[in-house]
């Protein structure tokens, strides 16, 4: 008994310092955002600010149109997710429940997309998007992500778990494939849809490289791009305002994460399971 107690506390003894190390960048952002500029550069002023200065937040909001960025981020992330749900539901249903020629070959073509993330093929995609006349528009940030091999894979696994009797019953009631998909399959795989939605939103809300390449005006920029621009002009000069801006940018997802912790953790946890 004594030994297991020691073991238990020993584990905390190892985990607590690591956890503090892990959380310290976030604490550093928060603390700096309420400091004065002088305190940042003065090593003798200690870790905590003398007084909590909230002025950095309005200053950050005033220096760049974060409201517009936020709206663009919501529009882009929301459109990607809405389109993905349609494409992956249809494709996953076909792979899970229909018989057609070359099924395995076509499925592996879908999986191929996982091997070629946008970071690997951004250059020729940029040229395609430019030829389509989409540069510097919100759709440019959406179109490469509408089809999702990963989402199709995830949903196909879930559809396969649905008992075929249910689909047969729906068929007898006169439902076609589309009606069966809508009325029987989709309601039954809601947890998988939520898990996919969370992963998709986290990924695309945070996207940096692709939106950076295809946008060049304030009206279409998203939050990470706006923050990057501010960083270029502010870093080394005004860390307090920059950190306040960082808090504004990271807080939507972090707040959602804190509120729906279980959901978020479960989604990412089972993302790897086949």
């Amino acid at each position: 008994m004594n030994q297991s107690l020691l073991k238990r506390y020993g584990l905390h003894g190892i985990l607590i310092p690591i956890a503090l190390l892990w959380i310290s960048p976030l604490l550093w952002i928060l603390v700096t955002s309420v400091k004065t500029r002088v305190e940042v550069f003065d090593a003798s002023s200690g870790l905590l600010p003398q007084n909590f200065i909230w002025d950095n937040y309005p200053a950050a909001m005033a220096v760049a149109p974060f409201g517009t960025y936020m709206i663009n981020s919501v529009l882009v992330t929301g459109s990607i997710l809405a389109c993905q749900i349609v494409t992956i539901s249809l494709a996953a249903f076909a792979f899970a429940r229909l018989t057609f020629p070359c099924k395995n070959l076509i499925f592996s073509l879908f999986l191929l997309q996982i091997m070629f993330p946008i970071y690997a093929i951004f250059l020729t995609n940029f040229i395609t998007v430019r030829e389509l006349g989409l540069l510097n528009s919100l759709p440019a940030m959406v179109v490469p992500f509408i089809a999702s091999g990963y989402g199709t894979f995830m949903l196909r696994q879930a559809f396969r778990q649905v008992p075929t009797e249910l689909a047969d019953a729906a068929r007898l009631d006169g439902c076609g494939h589309f009606a069966t998909l809508w009325h029987v399959y989709l309601p039954l795989v809601k947890p998988t849809l939520v898990a996919f939605a969370i992963i998709s939103v986290v990924t695309h809300w945070n996207d940096y490289m692709w939106p950076l390449l295809v946008t060049n005006s304030e009206s279409v920029r998203t939050l990470p791009i706006g923050l990057g621009l501010l960083a270029k002009s502010d870093s080394g000069a005004d860390w307090t305002r920059l950190m306040a801006a960082t808090v504004i940018v990271v807080s939507p997802l972090l707040l959602l994460f804190v509120v729906f912790q279980r959901r978020f953790v479960d989604s990412f946890m089972h993302a790897g399971l086949k």
């Binding site: 584990l11 905390h12 190892i14 985990l15 956890a19 892990w22 960048p25 976030l26 550093w28 550069f41 003065d42 992956i88 249809l90 494709a91 249903f93 076909a94 229909l98 057609f100 020629p101 879908f110 191929l112 997309q113 996982i114 993330p117 690997a120 093929i121 250059l123 020729t124 395609t128 179109v143 490469p144 509408i146 089809a147 494939h177 986290v202 945070n206 940096y208 490289m209 950076l212 990470p224 923050l227 990057g228 960083a231 870093s235 860390w239 920059l242 950190m243 960082t246 940018v249 990271v250 997802l253 972090l254 994460f257 912790q261 953790v265 990412f268 946890m269 790897g272 399971l273 086949k274």
Partner: protein, 300 residues
Amino acid sequence: MSMRINFFKPKHDTMVAVFMLLPSLVFLAAFTYWPIIRSIYFSFHDVMLGSDKIFFLGWENYERVLQDSLFWKSFRNTAFYTLITIPVAIICALLLAVALDTKIRAVALYRSIFFYPVMIPSVAAGMVWVFLYAPGYGPINGMMEFLGLPKLEWLYSSDWALPAIMVMSVWKYSGYFMLILLAALQLVPRDLYEAARLDGVSAWHQLIHITIPLISPTLYFVIIIGILHSYQIFDYVYVMTQGGPADATNVLTLYIYQNAFQYQDIGFASTVANMLLLFIGGLIAVIASTIGRHVHYLGK
């Protein structure tokens, strides 16, 4: 009208399937397959950004790439980053997952603390670490001084800039890998550990001989995911160092970007992109034929 009714009957599976796959296939074709084909085509041609003229070059771009010292430097940096960061992050993740797969208190809190960096945009993460690494007033050097260690120039030093970015990447990704591994650990039957403990098997040997073999499919999956995530180094390098100092942190994705958008040389940039795809593809093939063969699947 009658056609419509036929269309929804099960014997027309193929037609329905085509209809259901078409939306995905159109976008996959336009934004995954076409760019790959085009990148191969461009690499054999002289293509400039914003110009319609294309000249056939044969293997010239490839010869140029192989003799380009900056390409090799970016290649070495990319390989160094991937081959060190991913194993280190996975080992950290595995140890954290094993520690959290116990009945200790505050498991959920620990899990969230290790996982939250995944929620932070790469640009924000990169920027904050620029601040943490700042040579004069940054807290990391403050800590070094406190511990009696020499202060370093970090991102301004050609020796330390890349390792500094790698440390940040481990912080950013370990929590993600940890969660996926935790899910697998929870499926390992508890009585196996119980039996091993009764036989006097040490915790280390339990990890090596029971845990790792039983979660090897997930471990394998995490390695592949990790390699694919390593592409994202572009964001960190772009925000933190712009490839500097003296190209010490230039990586292939950034080198593609520079060639395409600064020198407008799409043909050469495509050639570098193909070399990157070859490297990542080759790495995955090597892993599939070595580690992939030793993966144990439970059940069947």
